[in-house]
Amino acid sequence: MSKEWPLWEVFIRSQHGLAHKHVGSLHAPDAEMAVNNARDVYTRRNEGVSIWVVLAGDITASSPADKSVLFEPSNSKVYRHPTFFPMPEEVKNL
C-alpha cells in the first residue's frame, strides 16, 4: 500500500463565514485533486466558498501532554481575560 494517496486536511470558509474552519480530511494524489475532491466531499459545490488543503504531514500539532503548560496558567487569573469591557453594538464579529 505504499502507493496510497497521502492524507490532506481540508479547511473551508463558507459563504458567510469569516474564517476557514477545519472540516475533515481526504486522500488525494496532489493538491489540485485534493481541492477538487474537497468540493465534492465537503461543499457539495456551494458557491462562494474558499477551500484550503494542506498535507496532513505538514501540520504540527501541540501535544495533549502539554495542555496544562499551555493553557492552564491563565485560567486562574481573571484579569488576564478581557471580559470586563462592554462592547459597542456596532462592533460585529469580534
Binding site: 494517496w5 486522500h27 494524489p29 489540485e32 477538487n36 465534492d40
Partner: protein, 256 residues
C-alpha cells in the same frame, strides 16, 4: 420539419437533451461504490446527480409542451429504446475507468459548448435551464479534462488504456455535430446554434487536452456511427433501460 415523424421539433430537441443526461447519469450511477478511490466515487456520483437534475428539467419542459400528461417519470420510465433520443456516445458501457473517463470527457466538452450557446436561445426557458446546467458542466469538463491528462500522461499502462479508450469511442463523436431536420428547424428559430459550428471548438479543446496528455487525436476522417438521436441505438441501451425501468413497468401504479 420535412420529416413527418417529427411532431414538434422542440419537444424532440428537449428529449434529446434530457435523454443524454438521463442515460449518462444512469451509466455513472452503475459505478456507485465501484470507483477507484473513495473520493473518485463521490465525484462520479456527484456528476451523475447533476446530470439527473438536468434531465428532470428538460423532461419537465418537454412534457409541458407536449401537453399529453406525460411527466418526467413517464418520459423516463415508460418509453422504450427506439423512443430514446440520446447520443450513442452516452449509452456506451462503462468499460474500464479509462473508457468511462473518455466517454465523459468527449461528452462534457460538447455539452459545455452546446449549453454555452443555449444561454442565448430564443426560448427563455431553455436559456434558463442551460444557465443552471452550465455551472455544473463547467466543473464536469474541468474534472474529466484533468483526469485525461493525469492518466494519459501517467504510467505506460494508463497511457495505453486512455489511448485505446480515445480510439474506441471516437466513432461516436461525430453524431454530436450532425444536425438533422430537428436541429435545423431549431437553429432556424434561434432556439439552438447550428450544431456544426461546435465541431471546431470541440476538436480544438480535445486536441489541446490530448497534447497535454500525450495522447494522439484519432483521424478526423474516420468512419463515424450515428442514429441515436433518431432512436436507432446499440444493443446495450436495451439492457440499461430494462434495469432502469423495471420497477415502474412492473408496478405501473406505484407512487414513490
Amino acid at each position: 420539419m420535412a420529416d413527418s415523424n417529427v411532431a414538434d421539433p422542440k419537444i424532440e430537441f428537449l428529449l434529446r437533451l434530457a435523454d443524454n443526461s438521463l442515460v449518462l447519469s444512469q451509466r455513472l450511477s452503475e459505478l456507485c461504490g465501484k470507483g477507484p478511490a473513495l473520493e473518485e466515487d463521490i465525484a462520479l456520483t456527484n456528476v451523475a446527480l447533476d446530470l439527473l437534475g438536468q434531465a428532470r428539467f428538460w423532461f419537465a419542459y418537454a412534457g409541458e409542451l407536449e401537453g399529453a400528461g406525460r411527466d418526467e417519470d413517464r418520459l423516463a420510465f415508460l418509453r422504450d429504446a427506439h423512443e430514446f433520443r440520446n447520443l450513442l456516445l452516452v449509452e456506451q458501457p462503462n468499460g474500464s475507468y479509462a473508457d468511462t473517463l473518455m466517454r465523459q470527457f468527449y461528452f462534457d466538452a460538447w455539452h459545455y459548448l452546446l449549453l454555452e450557446q443555449l444561454l442565448t436561445s430564443s426560448d427563455e426557458r431553455i436559456a434558463a435551464i442551460a444557465e443552471k446546467s452550465l455551472k455544473e458542466v463547467r466543473y464536469h469538463l474541468r474534472r474529466s479534462g484533468d483526469l485525461i491528462v493525469r492518466l494519459g500522461d501517467g504510467s505506460e499502462l494508463s497511457h495505453s488504456m486512455m489511448q485505446r479508450a480515445a480510439d474506441d469511442l471516437w466513432m461516436f463523436t461525430d453524431e454530436m455535430f450532425q444536425a438533422d431536420a430537428v436541429e435545423q428547424a431549431m437553429a432556424a428559430q434561434g432556439v439552438m446554434p447550428e450544431l456544426g459550428t461546435l465541431r471546431t471548438p470541440w476538436i480544438n479543446h480535445v486536441a489541446e487536452i490530448f497534447r497535454e496528455a500525450t495522447l494522439v487525436l484519432p483521424p478526423l476522417d474516420a468512419w463515424m456511427q450515428k442514429g441515436g438521436k433518431q432512436g436507432r441505438h446499440g444493443e446495450s441501451l436495451g439492457y440499461l433501460l430494462a434495469e432502469m425501468q423495471f420497477l415502474p413497468r412492473a408496478y405501473p401504479d406505484a407512487v414513490w
